[in-house]
Symmetry: C2
Subunit: 335 residues, 2 copies
């Protein structure tokens, strides 16, 4: 296959603000979600923890979609540690161990320069391979809040999506406003200074994506929802032609009435793809919850589905494979 | 290019036995040689230390050959941390941070299983890319001693080469004999138990190479001298068909009268390539020293030259490019 799927892992302290992230069963487990997601892609279950990441309600990580798509289409996966608390116990490209700081108290990512530089080197090397397309997903609890902060700093009236069915928009906005007050800036004040927006409000996943995108000169599919819009906006502000980029997500993000995915994408000028997955027929409540607005996206689920579709599989086949994988997990749990 | 160059980094405590390794100016710097080699491939000079690795006499690391070949042929490079004291400050695939222990006191590599498993996963992923050939080099100070120990355990009457012009064979044999006495074994006693030979006497580079070779099912060029014969011997003992493997090294290893490269390769049944580099015309004594038996090989120098030759460059052109790079280094030193 001439496409390579990268999974970039990031952590930000913002995920520990109560109510911000539901990307794990508890706040402590949420910190481990990126590495557990990565490990699950390569094994029957994660290694660092014994169970796959779930929301506090028990709804499963979108890594299950990515794993299903990969089992069908067989695309290569390379895990990249953009910046996490721990290293995953699977082979991964180490870019940094910097975790994004709480942007209410100070700059989120003083290490942005080193991360970009290293990720760019990696992107350049991948560009020497006979690979035409990078599909880059992410796992970054709290990342929709850092994304919204970056989009606001760059002047977009965006509301980002959330893994919760009740998007904590009021909380997100309060947290971001607090950070803007710290700096004495208003929406759009950093529109000509994207690297400062990244340094003040970003996370290591974003910096890694920027570096990869600058280093690799072929097609790049930014596989994610509103977080990838923040990456697109940063790339545009850095002067990149967005013609070689696409944001691939799921219908659950596109249809999220609490977010502004399509409008913001249009404002940025990046094309989008929406994976038409449907879990409404699943026998498992944990999967049917996706149809009620839980989880929605992550671990490049939409982009992985894009690769499966390009390889000749239908979104229905991906959905059925997800059911199969979920059943396997349930059996292991019961065993 | 359909070939991918991997540089696997390893450390073993054996390098700290006085007189065993000359892969660094001092014993402490020798520990950093693998990461400095990796950093030099991507930058004008290493990042962790300010100068390229040299022997105590000041003769430069073979990374200069690998870098020269890559500047000509442009092949992609992926650094793999098989197991080192520190992480290199360039993007690299993390497999482990296990350093091989002094095999006179106990098993060298209790972690061999995890390393093989992880490296195998990486090899499998690389096998999903449109890559036909892996060329795998290494940087492992002290690695010719672990190699000789493994070859002896597997029953080969081998003498491995050395970066020194005076191969410390007597010292190597004393050290290995001490370890064999610890276990109460003789040459060949582990010929049916290659994993035990690896665990008792190996290093993390070897384990990583084994895993990569088992996971990737295409052609594999083992880019190194007598150390890669140890890897070949392990693979053979594990039941791998060596038909898809080749050991690519330099003429300095092949012509080393203190080692048994060609005889041992023949005994194992693996084909070899020898890069016909010639530094005798260099204006720099540091490079002419290669012709006197210093350094000889490392950092996949022979395999990198193989890639340059396949891309249409002559060994003379690689030699000239090495001269250029060395001149740049001298200018930086002078500046």
């Amino acid at each position: 296959m001439e496409s390579l799927f990268l999974l970039v892992l990031g952590n930000t302290e913002i995920s520990t603000v109560p109510g911000i992230s539901v990307a794990g069963a508890t706040p402590e487990l949420t910190k481990l979600t990126p590495i557990a997601d990565a490990e699950y892609l390569f094994h029957e279950k994660p290694l660092t923890v014994d169970v796959i990441p779930v929301t506090p309600e028990g709804y499963p990580t979108p890594a299950i979609i990515t794993k299903a798509a990969r089992e069908l289409a067989g695309f290569p996966i390379l895990v990249v540690r953009g910046g996490t608390y721990l290293a995953p116990l699977v082979p991964h490209v180490h870019v940094s161990n910097a975790v994004g700081r709480d942007f209410r108290r100070g700059p989120a990512l003083p290490e942005f320069g080193d991360i970009i530089k290293r990720a760019k080197l990696l992107g350049e090397e991948l560009g020497r391979l006979p690979v035409k397309e990078l599909v880059i997903g992410e796992s970054t609890p709290g990342g929709t809040t850092t994304a919204q902060a970056v989009l606001w700093a760059l002047g977009y009236e965006a509301r980002t999506s959330s893994a919760s069915s009740e998007n904590p928009q009021a909380l997100k906005e309060r947290v971001i406003t607090e950070a803007f007050n710290r700096l004495g800036i208003a929406k759009g004040d950093l529109k000509d200074n994207p690297l400062e927006a990244l340094r003040q409000f970003g996370d290591p996943m974003m910096a890694t994506l920027i570096g990869l995108s600058l280093g690799f000169r072929g097609s790049v599919v930014l596989a994610g929802g509103t977080q990838m819009l923040a990456v697109s906006a940063l790339l545009k502000a850095l002067g990149e032609d967005l013609g070689r980029f696409m944001v691939a997500t799921t219908k659950w993000v596109v249809n999220d009435p609490s977010a502004t995915f399509l409008e913001t994408a249009k404002g940025i000028g990046v094309i989008t793809y929406s994976a038409d997955l449907d879990f409404s027929g699943s026998e498992f409540p944990g999967l049917r919850a996706y149809e009620e607005g839980y989880v929605k996206e992550g671990v490049g689920a939409g982009g992985a589905t894009w690769l499966a579709v390009k390889a000749g599989y239908s979104p229905e086949e991906v959905s059925r494979k997800v059911d199969e994988l979920y059943e396997r997990l349930m059996e292991m749990k019961g065993a």
